[in-house]
Structure formats: structure tokens, C-alpha cells
Amino acid sequence: MMCRIYKLLFRLVPVKGVQARIIRNHFQVCPSCTKEMETVEYVNDETAIKEVIFSPAQFENLDSMVPGVEEKIRQMRKAGAKTLKQPVLFPVLRWAMAGAAAAVIIILGLTFFPGSDSGPVTDTQMKPIEQDVFVHYIKTRNNYARTFIVKEKKAKRTFIWFEKHKT
């Protein structure tokens, strides 16, 4: 059962790190999976695989490529050869930078998002502001409620909310 799950995971999860872990921790260790790999008896024998691919030894007698390379260099210089592109950073660092950039964008978004204001201002935090709105009283369930009026500095908006008194 576990073998099937691992095989399914290996097929479905495209992340190479996960696949490598599955290979190391299961496929190469589980007796039934290793036996399956050995069905064709010499698949694991690297000699057999070498029959499938070309090896440098087959081409020891090739003519020297020096004249061809010299010609290529002439052509490339004539065409204004471009220098090799080097990767800026190793893949892991690039991912880390992308993650950091995403985190900064999220934080900035949360900071400037209109709904991100921190909750009601308590009595001790409230500072005197110019008010063009006055609330005499508000009652909730026949009890006087704590009333707060906050006016945004830049925007012309006034917030009024109330809470029932804590008993």
C-alpha cells in the first residue's frame, strides 16, 4: 500500500526535492520496489546502460576539430560574438530573494490597506482632535455605551463606534 502511495506521490508532486527524498528513502530501500527495478536483470548493471549511450572512446579517432573551431571563431568574431551569460545567483538564492520580495510586498500591502487600522482607540490613546461630530450618548440594552469618535487626519472621514461598558 505504501509503495503505491509513494509511486503516486512521485508522479504527482513535481518538486524535485520531494522526488529525490522519495527515491532515497523508499525506492532504493524498500525490498519490493528494488525487486521491481531488478525485473530486467541487468538494468542496474551500468555496463548494460553503457551499451545504450555513446562513449568518448568510440570517437578517439575523429579528425582534429581545430580547423573547424578556428573557422567558427572567425565567424563569431565577424558577427560580434556575445559573451556567455552567467547566472546572477545560484537557484536557491534566487528563490530566497523572490520570497523576500514577496514578503515585502505583502507587508507593504497590509500596512497601506485601508482596513489595516488598528482597532478602536482606547480612552488613554485618544488625543484631542477637532470634532465636527458630537455624540451625546449611546445606549445598548439600556446601558450607556462607551463611545469613540476618531477622525482620520488626511481623509475627511469620521469613525464613530461604541462598546458596552465592561462590568
Partner: protein, 185 residues
């Protein structure tokens, strides 16, 4: 490796002829890699010459702390994969010869006898898997060294190798343990 650094230093000082030593030293390895990725001797030859030409032009950018062969193989892999991406004729080439069943003149010129086994099995792999397998089998590279050439993570290189072997296993099973046979014209 020290003599390579000496040769490269001499090239950079203006003794261009010394680069020939490196070409002759590594041409068979680069050509074999090109054949494993591209499957066509003419394409492989072109890529091989391109690789050495690029290496020569950019020799001033080579990091002496690295192995020159790794750097060369990295250039060859990139050129080969770019070529496949542009041409997408690899499978078409093999399919054509599978149908006609004859060895191309190019193969004969280079003394290379194509085998049915090669055509059938290697084309099951994608270019990166062929690259990883070629580097593993011919150069004895570890997953880490393959990752350096392929410019990917070690885990990715490891998975490429595993999948390559798995696909060859399937092809072997389907072929019923086929022996090497030479294609006759």
C-alpha cells in the same frame, strides 16, 4: 589540472595556438555528449565546434578554481539544449531512420554504426535525462557535479538520473532484453 591552468594562462597571454591542446584533449568527450543529447553526428560536430569557439572567446571569464572540462561540458549542454529547442527535430530524425532502417552516410563517414538499441532506448529520455545519464556513465560524475553542469539543484540532477534509468528499464522490458544489432543499409 595544473597544466591546464598553464595552457589557459598562455592562451590569455596571446599564445592562441596552445588552445589546440585543449581541443584535441576534450573533443571526443564533448562530441560523445553531443551525440547522446542530439543523436546526429553533424549536429554534434557543429555543437562541439561552437563549444570550443565560445570557450576560446570567453576564456578570460573562466574561473581557474573550476575544472575546465566541467565548464566546457556546461557550454556544450547549453548549446545542445538550445539547438533542440529551436529545431525540435530529434525525434523526427530518429523516426525517419527507424522507418527507413538505414544508417545515414554521416554515421558511416565518422565510423559510427548506429544501433537499433540506441535509437529505441535513448529517445525515451528527455534531453536533460540523456545529459545526466551521459555525464554519469561517461564521465563518472556525481549528482552534484551533474547539477553544476546542468545548472540545477543536486536533487533535480538526482531525479533526472533516476528517471533515465527507470525509462531505460521500461524500454528493456518492452524490447524483451534486446541485443545490440547493427542497422544494415
Amino acid at each position: 589540472m595544473d597544466d591546464e591552468r598553464l595552457i589557459i594562462s598562455e592562451c590569455l597571454e596571446g599564445n592562441a595556438g596552445r588552445f589546440d591542446v585543449l581541443i584535441i584533449r576534450y573533443q571526443s568527450a564533448i562530441f560523445a555528449l553531443g551525440m547522446n543529447i542530439l543523436g546526429d553526428p553533424d549536429e554534434a560536430m557543429d555543437v562541439c565546434q561552437d563549444t570550443f569557439a565560445q570557450a576560446y572567446i570567453n576564456l578570460h571569464r573562466f574561473d581557474m578554481e573550476r575544472k575546465f572540462k566541467n565548464w566546457l561540458l556546461g557550454i556544450a549542454v547549453k548549446r545542445s539544449l538550445d539547438r533542440i529547442r529551436k529545431k525540435k527535430s530529434f525525434l523526427a530524425f530518429f523516426d525517419r531512420y527507424a522507418r527507413e532502417g538505414k544508417t545515414s552516410d554521416h554515421f558511416k563517414t565518422h565510423g559510427i554504426e548506429e544501433s537499433v538499441v540506441f535509437r529505441q532506448f535513448l529517445k525515451q529520455l528527455n534531453p536533460r535525462e540523456r545529459t545526466a545519464l551521459s555525464l554519469k556513465m561517461n564521465e563518472g560524475y556525481t549528482a552534484k557535479e551533474i547539477a553544476e553542469v546542468l545548472r540545477c539543484s543536486e536533487n533535480t540532477a538526482y531525479v533526472h538520473l533516476f528517471k533515465a534509468k527507470q525509462k531505460i528499464k521500461k524500454a528493456y522490458t518492452a524490447a524483451g532484453k534486446m541485443e545490440n544489432t547493427e542497422v544494415k543499409p
